[in-house]
């Protein structure tokens, strides 16, 4: 059974966003990391890049495949999780602690179109 955390917002493409004030921390869900298998590389944007809800901002590479990262929110990247450069496997071991980008949100209301924990649990059939 995949781990799902209350209070986060979830996208159909298996990214989550944790909202803290005007910032959103974006990562992939426990379900996604499990489906991907051993993560060996995270292709992240640069700080100050713009991301748009519903659009690709990078990729997570497992041994067997590359999977696009789709941003659940729009805004400006203010930080990327540098630890993932040396230790991409952190995405497997704790995907919720190891977010991928921190975004300064341009439209906080966007999260309303995302799923809550219960809806996501339902979406992945658990």
């Amino acid at each position: 059974m995949s781990k799902i955390i209350e209070g986060l917002y979830y996208a159909e493409s298996h990214e989550y966003v944790r909202i803290e004030g005007e910032y959103g921390y974006v990562g992939i869900t426990d379900y996604a990391q499990h489906e991907l298998g051993n993560v060996v590389y995270v292709d992240m944007p640069d700080v100050d890049d713009e991301v748009t809800a519903g659009e690709e901002f990078g990729a997570v590479e497992s041994v067997k495949a590359a999977s696009d990262l789709i941003s659940p929110v729009s805004g400006t990247v203010v930080e990327v999780n540098e630890a993932l450069n040396d230790s991409p496997e952190l995405v497997n071991s704790d995907p919720y602690e190891n977010w991928i980008i921190k975004v300064q949100l341009s439209d906080a209301s966007e999260v309303e179109s995302l799923m809550d924990a219960a809806a996501y649990k339902n979406a992945i059939g658990e």
Partner: protein
């Protein structure tokens, strides 16, 4: 069309394997994860269900002559029990399939072919056999096959399965009477490690699998790590490094095409290609970054596309992002700087040998 299942399919499901289609079969990709299974083979012993592979038996008065006519390697005067790797080529020099030829006994040759090519190969072999006094028998449905691979394989095959195999040399085989049938055991594999492949009836292959699993000393391994293992030691996969359009010379496998032997299909084209010089060739590329070059990605240099990635991974044994790629010949020299386009970015790298990790065969 519904995929076929091997005789071990239910065992894979019971072990919780991730199942995906490969070569027309629903095959186990991984049981736990690719990295652990890969390391089990490099360090101890892993077992693969390779029952999807095809087997074709060639017999008859002209079987040696015929096999040598369709096969790029030279099997003339082969001793019994000897195994050869090589290809079957089109008249163009492109590859129909790569395969192993087992010389079982006088006039009896056992061909092991890729699952995805069974129908194509059997048609090709049968068509070309018309003018030879041979019998072509597709035995793919008859045999199950497991590969036991890794530095502990010999000890485990002997002790757990009770099959004496220590005297088998690399790329040789023997037939053994076992439980009322004749099985084939060979010192071969597709991982770069020492190991054995066992061909037997579906029932007996299930017994072999059960014994190995019950021992607790082997890891069941899926096709995921089979690909990462073969890739690291520079072994080709049909569909990636070899295709109907890529010749053995272009695949840097010229040592398995004996251009000085008597006529074989494709010889003329290969001799011509060698004389004129290759225009493209498969080499290795090592990237400076950890991004992964994958099959089909473009390779660039001097602002233009100069090739394509055939297989690429972040090598589990070395940690480096590496690939095999088919490059224009002027960029195929060692240490040439090239880059690979991965999504929107271009990642720099250099041309290397296509063997990224040394084989540990017991010869």
């Amino acid at each position: 069309m519904e995929n076929k299942r091997t005789c071990l399919y239910d065992k894979h499901v019971a072990l919780g394997a991730l199942i995906s289609p490969f070569g027309g079969f629903d095959m186990p990709i991984q049981y736990t994860n690719i990295v652990d299974e890969h390391n089990a083979v490099r360090q101890a012993c892993g077992v693969f269900d390779v029952s999807h592979m095809g087997e074709v038996l060639i017999t008859g008065a002209e079987s040696e002559k015929f096999v040598n006519y369709i096969f790029t390697n030279d099997i003339a005067d082969a001793p019994d029990g000897k195994i050869y790797y090589g290809m079957m080529c089109h008249p163009t020099g492109g590859v129909v399939d790569d395969l192993l030829v087992y010389k079982m006994s006088p006039g009896r040759y056992f061909l092991v072919i890729n699952a995805s090519n069974i129908d194509k190969d059997v048609a090709w072999i049968t068509e070309n056999a018309r003018n030879f006094d041979v019998v072509v028998e597709n035995q793919s449905e008859k045999y199950g096959e497991v590969a036991v691979q890794g530095p502990k394989a010999e000890e485990i095959v002997e002790r757990v399965l009770g099959i004496g195999c220590s005297e088998l040399l690399f790329y040789t085989c023997k037939e053994i009477e076992c439980c009322g049938e004749t099985i084939i055991v060979s010192r071969t594999g597709y991982t770069g490690e020492d190991g054995f492949e066992i061909y037997a009836s579906h029932e007996l292959i299930n017994d072999v699998w059960d014994k190995l699993m019950a021992s607790g000393e082997v890891a069941p391994c899926g096709l995921g790590c089979r690909d990462t293992l073969r890739f690291e030691v520079g072994l080709p996969l049909y569909g990636d490094e070899l295709t109907d359009e890529i010749t053995p010379l272009e695949a840097s496998l010229g040592m398995f095409a004996k251009l000085d032997k008597e006529n074989f299909i494709g010889k003329e084209a290969l001799v011509k290609q060698k004389a004129e010089g290759l225009r493209r060739k498969i080499v290795g590329i090592e990237l400076k970054d950890k991004a992964i070059p994958r099959h089909g990605y473009e390779v660039e240099a001097d602002g233009k596309v100069i090739g394509v990635v055939t297989t690429g991974y972040n090598s589990i044994s070395t940690g480096k992002s590496v690939c095999m790629a088919l490059l224009d010949i002027e960029y195929a020299k060692l240490d040439t700087e090239v880059s690979v386009r991965i999504r929107k970015k271009v990642f720099p790298g250099v041309v290397t040998k296509k063997r990224f990790y040394d084989k540990n065969y017991k010869k």
